[in-house]
């Protein structure tokens, strides 16, 4: 082991120009941390004043030149990089981060739940896809891509196994609230539609508001998470219009931008779905 270590250290040292320096310990001074930790200093052979000046000016010229070039390369490289190349690089980084996140993802890891006393005032942040008036009795949620496809009325959803959770809702803007949700696990809906074998499910889920003005895409893993609900109640009362009545998504596995309100359709698909905020420069995955 210690031999390996020495080889590594020699390797590291070999990368360095030593300029014939020799290691010397600091004066034996119990008050000096350098002495206590056996720090060494590296000094060249003595040389004349003029020679030291000459060597230093060579080193300075080289150092500042290389450093300056590297700096300019960085600054102008970034500046001259075409906008498309830059945004492709950053989008691909989001996708790379997504793959890394998925390697470490486990559906068994749950977001913490809170006691009812910790529930905070709900915050309303946007009406995309909610502009039209709708009547709850006319509303249907179309489900396609699993089983034979179907459409659900809100009573049918309410008749499914009821799940409650008090979790932290996180907005991509950086604020968070604690919300008491009541609804149906998406995995329960999938089972009701005949999606019996979770391994056979398509990779993605596309969800849209009835007017199709707001739309999100989810990966199947996060949709199947036990804390991903189709919620019809919020903080003990039926969902209000502004929070997405009659049925919305609620999940601590994604930011609020993914928790679509007033769901009109759910489509299971192997094609990566469009996503409103991803098209506006945000991370498609947005997974927490």
């Amino acid at each position: 082991m210690s031999e390996d270590k020495e080889i590594i250290i020699d390797g590291v040292r070999g990368l360095e120009d030593k300029n014939g320096t020799t290691g010397r310990s600091w004066p034996d001074d119990p008050e000096n941390t350098a002495t206590a930790l056996k720090e060494f200093r590296y000094l060249s052979e003595p040389m004349s004043d003029a020679e030291a000046k000459r060597q230093m000016s060579t080193r300075s010229r080289r150092g500042f030149l290389v450093g300056g070039m590297a700096g300019l390369l960085g600054v102008f490289g970034w500046r001259w990089m075409p906008d498309e190349a830059k945004s492709a690089l950053l989008r691909r980084t989001f996708e790379f981060n997504e793959r890394v996140s998925q390697v470490f993802y486990s559906p068994k890891r749950l977001a913490p739940e809170f006691p009812p006393s910790r529930v905070t005032a709900a915050r309303y942040n946007g009406a995309l896809g909610l502009e039209n008036e709708i009547t709850a009795s006319d509303w249907r949620m179309k489900v396609t891509g699993i089983g034979s496809g179907s459409a659900f009325a809100i009573e049918q959803i309410r008749a499914m196994p009821r799940t409650e959770m008090i979790t932290e809702f996180k907005c991509i803007e950086g604020w968070s609230t604690i919300v008491h949700w009541t609804g149906v696990r998406v995995s329960d809906l999938i089972a009701a539609c005949g999606g019996t074998n979770p391994n056979d499910l398509p990779r993605y889920v596309a969800m849209k508001t009835p007017d199709e003005k707001y739309y999100v895409g989810w990966d199947i893993e996060a949709i199947m998470h036990p804390q991903t609900l189709l919620a019809y109640e919020m903080n003990g009362a039926p969902l209000t219009n502004e929070h997405g009545a009659p049925l919305r998504l609620a999940s601590p596995t994604k930011y609020g931008i993914k928790q679509i309100k007033r769901i009109g359709s759910i489509e299971f698909t192997n094609e990566r779905p469009r996503d409103y905020w991803a098209e506006n420069g945000y991370d498609w995955y947005a997974g927490l």
Partner: protein, 231 residues
Amino acid sequence: MDKQLEKKHPLAVRWMHWINFPLLALMIWSGLLIYWANPVYPLRLGTYEVFHFFPPWFYETLGIPFRLAEGLQLHFFFMWLFSINGVAYIIYTFLSGEWRALLPVPASFRRAPLVALHDAHLVKTKPPQGKYNDAQRIAYTGVILMGAGSVITGLSIYKPTQIGWLTSLLGGYEWARWEHFWLMVLFVLFFGVHVFQVAMAGWANFRSMITGYDVVDAEKPTTPKEETVEV
């Protein structure tokens, strides 16, 4: 008089130091683009709000508003480079033995105030010095711990469900965001003090972080006891 060139900063450390400078700046900049979307932290004395991070003129002057998406893109790109550079530095420091010049010992905390008093010209006694003095050892180790803290608090607000145990350990999501923000403020303060100290120390010291070398007066020929280098 005879001179000697003293090798002060290894090539790897110089590169990592200078690479870290723009990376940290970009992390702070993109962090500000993100923070603007929910700018909630004040500096309070008791109940009196001394300063709010940040006043409107600050955002307007720097052109920060409405750039959240861009901020997230940059933050989650440069986080990799910032972290890799930091981890590489820590590994290098341990393998090369540089840690002997950088880590404080318990007594350093007792001796560090002497450095501050000496710097302020209040005390004549020169504090014991290796490559760095005890105050520098504490500062340069502390800033690495701050970097580690930024990565850890950052991870805990990046994946608060998947790494929920870490987020809980840090006091929950909102506290972790608060900690991540204040570490940034500490970095800015460190930067200010660091630049001031470098300016006070003068050109030769600054140049040594570029070339790696400093010029020192040659030792009296009697003293040097040569030793083999061991780590």
